[in-house]
Symmetry: D2
Amino acid sequence: MASTKIKTGIVGGAGYTGGEMIRILLNHPDVEITFVHSRSNAGNPLYAVHGDLLGETELTFAADLSNDIDVLFLCLGHGESKKFLEANTIAPSVKVIDLSQDFRLGESLPGREFVYGLPEMQRDKIKAAQNIANPGCFATAIQLGLLPLAQAGLLQEVHTTGITGSTGAGQSLQSTTHFTWRANNVSTYKVLTHQHLKEIRRSLQLLQPAFTGNINFVPVRGDYPRGIWVTSYLESDLTLEAALQLYKTYYAPHPFTHVSDKQIDLKQVVNTNKCLIQLEKIGTKLVIHSIEDNLLKGASGQAVQNMNLICGLEETAGLKLKSIVF
Amino acid sequence: MASTKIKTGIVGGAGYTGGEMIRILLNHPDVEITFVHSRSNAGNPLYAVHGDLLGETELTFAADLSNDIDVLFLCLGHGESKKFLEANTIAPSVKVIDLSQDFRLGESLPGREFVYGLPEMQRDKIKAAQNIANPGCFATAIQLGLLPLAQAGLLQEVHTTGITGSTGAGQSLQSTTHFTWRANNVSTYKVLTHQHLKEIRRSLQLLQPAFTGNINFVPVRGDYPRGIWVTSYLESDLTLEAALQLYKTYYAPHPFTHVSDKQIDLKQVVNTNKCLIQLEKIGTKLVIHSIEDNLLKGASGQAVQNMNLICGLEETAGLKLKSIVF
Amino acid sequence: MASTKIKTGIVGGAGYTGGEMIRILLNHPDVEITFVHSRSNAGNPLYAVHGDLLGETELTFAADLSNDIDVLFLCLGHGESKKFLEANTIAPSVKVIDLSQDFRLGESLPGREFVYGLPEMQRDKIKAAQNIANPGCFATAIQLGLLPLAQAGLLQEVHTTGITGSTGAGQSLQSTTHFTWRANNVSTYKVLTHQHLKEIRRSLQLLQPAFTGNINFVPVRGDYPRGIWVTSYLESDLTLEAALQLYKTYYAPHPFTHVSDKQIDLKQVVNTNKCLIQLEKIGTKLVIHSIEDNLLKGASGQAVQNMNLICGLEETAGLKLKSIVF
Amino acid sequence: MASTKIKTGIVGGAGYTGGEMIRILLNHPDVEITFVHSRSNAGNPLYAVHGDLLGETELTFAADLSNDIDVLFLCLGHGESKKFLEANTIAPSVKVIDLSQDFRLGESLPGREFVYGLPEMQRDKIKAAQNIANPGCFATAIQLGLLPLAQAGLLQEVHTTGITGSTGAGQSLQSTTHFTWRANNVSTYKVLTHQHLKEIRRSLQLLQPAFTGNINFVPVRGDYPRGIWVTSYLESDLTLEAALQLYKTYYAPHPFTHVSDKQIDLKQVVNTNKCLIQLEKIGTKLVIHSIEDNLLKGASGQAVQNMNLICGLEETAGLKLKSIVF
């Protein structure tokens, strides 16, 4: 009897987002992993690279791709996904979910249109999509903090601080991810110029075409491995009650994004696919805090959420993850 | 149609191990949570105490106990479990799994005998048990590093270093869990006198009755929240190959404990129910490293593993947890 | 021969800023510590409370105050300094340096006027002062980032993010300084309402009386013990070169505040009395990063700097501290 | 008028120990830095590499060596010091203090004999020395915990756990110093085989020639940048009182090593040149805890201490460093 599970392939399975993809899919009730591709690791067990998978699976990295799959996840560096799709023949029937930024701004390839995969913005479009451009980590957290305002046409110039864990910088060894340097340290990078601003602006203008204000974004390197904290504020006529109403109504149909009536802290969402949002009204300013795990809701978790949607599965399948909490 | 799920109650649900119990059971496919008892929090939603549960459940803390359950988890402080069972009438049919140290050394109550719940030592006894004394966190990690030797009658005086995360100290505010003090710090406590030595010795002598050597244990406070690292060494005639063979054979039937051929590091098991073991042979000494998450395999995860066994469920049900890795 | 050293007393010597005061003054070449007052610790050696002082001094905490001193440091909680000065008779000749916020907004007591002790703003006034209100930690870092603009009359509405280490919260045990909670966590507090905004605004308006714009300040709890990172930005017509020129000229006479031409990171100043500043110009916005150790330049170090000034010592005496760097 | 300060040169000034050497010597009252040699950084200001030195000095790295110095510090990798001395002509009058392990076991070069630079073991020999082999970081902490026993002829087989901060691994980027990997992690390395065991054994046998027991040493990678914690235990007939008496008498003449009557914790010594020792007697075992900053008492601080001794300066000159404490 043939398996009725969704067959998936992972390209770039030796990196951080590839590893998270494997971890989620191994326990996903409706999915099987057909192959995890990695040329340099071909033949080695997955746990030789991802040590935590010892005892979880005997799967090995594959040197070759297979087209006998339903969904292909591309966990490659920026610029590499486009090259990969141009250099390899992927069967037209295979759905592609790309975690790079190569197709987030409307780029396409012959025969492959990509839909921006932010379910809280356009779940129906995603359900009907063949290919998904999975949003960036900061882009997800910032947008989830602003979508209800944009849909209501209430966005104005936004001031945003975002703090990210070191996993956002990937697994390559860099001076800014050296333990001795980063521990107990703080620094910023790409202040007011972060590349995610493009996809953020594109989404927000879809919802509020007249929005032309700045999104002033200060990205901060945090002293911890996982998670993104975002605080945005802007001028707003909304009362706190009206804002809460707006946000709660907007997110009511969405299983992973929740509005908290209490102060939030980052570890509420670390190692989960959730985004939590907290609102404050101070004088004439509305303050929005939004938090996520950059590798899950900000990357591989959201990719699986998108797979669930395009494959007609329950949106939360395989994504009820135990948080680390502490 | 009546639910066929196992009905569970949790006493002490506002603490660390109680919270982990809730997190696991909420996603356990064969279990439902009938109540989470907490007098001081009665009526409040669980997420008012455990903020990460926002969006996971609308359950509230219960002021009263119910006997319409199959399994009762006691997540109470040491000394409190015995008092609780003496003060409350628990139906004889209810299985009790106690996470305190009150019944680990053979203590019993009228009508309630307790079996020491270390599945890797005595799974069959556990399957037949009515009540379980769940092992201590350090006790679990140290024993899992020594059980195969004890069973083979090869234990001699052992030298052990154990490092624990701050969650081992619970949620009360103490000078040794103050962030400013503990961050970047190291200290030891209860050197050579840790209370877990009693249950460790008891188990080892069950397997190797003639063992009278010391277990010299240096407990260290680690600079991180979760996880226990243990390194033990002793004189041994075994070659590395023979030792690996002994350990791999011993743990082959056990789904959560695995022997690694490569160097291990703590984060391979954090936020999972696993224990990983690594062996080295240096001169005449056999070195055994064993690691676990102190709140899971060292507490609530093992409690659920024991519940699975005494209820006839798959041993791993509800316990395939995604590691934090990073 | 009588000692010609400055005689100092410390009230509140058991707390964090009191401890730092002791550490600095013990090695200050021109100062001696006459007493460290603490009722609850009277008679105990200083190292019984401040364990790192073992081997540094045999001084004990004093139950009584002495008026045979030149300078008195008040290292008390907010509200306590005023009470202390009202309840105790301090000789009029004794100079008082208060680290609380009790006198930062122009408050005074009969016979005691207080000068706001930010040397980079008003060194000459400080030199002539009898009593000093030592600035707040965030207030120091934010002001040092803005003073040159205010003096040039170029301030407009400011957007500021500030991240502080846990020592900023003092030594009392709180849920937000519990290691298990704070490690790897991020949260905000007093968003847009932090109490230091008052003293900041007061200083800036002294320099630029017409300034009425907001200072929008988002305070963040950082995951490390020591140090404050501040990023501020505002609209500005200045080129980067002109801004650098303005800042370098302003700070040229000040030995502890320096403008960096390279990206800065917090650990450059931890455990020193320095403030480093870095500028960026992005589009029409001027971005100012400023960093300090919250307990030194943000508290006790600056207090000693003020003492040096009011006592006619070299401004840097006793304050050439080795940074932790790593 | 010619300077009467000691003239020093530093080779390898771009590394961790070289940087610490600069930091100490810049504030040393009796010393001047004549050159800091680094071929790759020649001409650049020191603060271009050591960012925390901004505002401290305008010194630049030198491409060339000078022989117009009194003391030369070699802050080079293991094996590099010997090569350096063979390849370069150093005036015979120049005293050499080498921080590598090249000369710790009695190795010499023509015209250059090296004395092992552990002042608490052989201060008089050091005072008379021309060249110093500066001890290793773990070697210092372990020996300081055992010297009084060895001198009394009371050493037996020792069991030692040592935990080191990440700075011990130097500044090169390695998988074990990657922030994402090391944060919240624990691992061991070179278990029972650490290279420092040779110099430890050599010293101990000098004091107690008949000592042939093992020193069983488990080195642990700690989750913090700075500091070494060592716990050693052994069989001993000494009472706690007798042991305390032995240790306090032994260390009474030594200004940097102190015996604590209270529990110690690592941060008491971080960023200082001190070593603190705490004793416990449990049953028949004597437990010795010893702590230090691996870069100071374990490297550059001890090198300066040795310089002070061989140059006839006060032993503590330039080494009264403010601890980080928090």
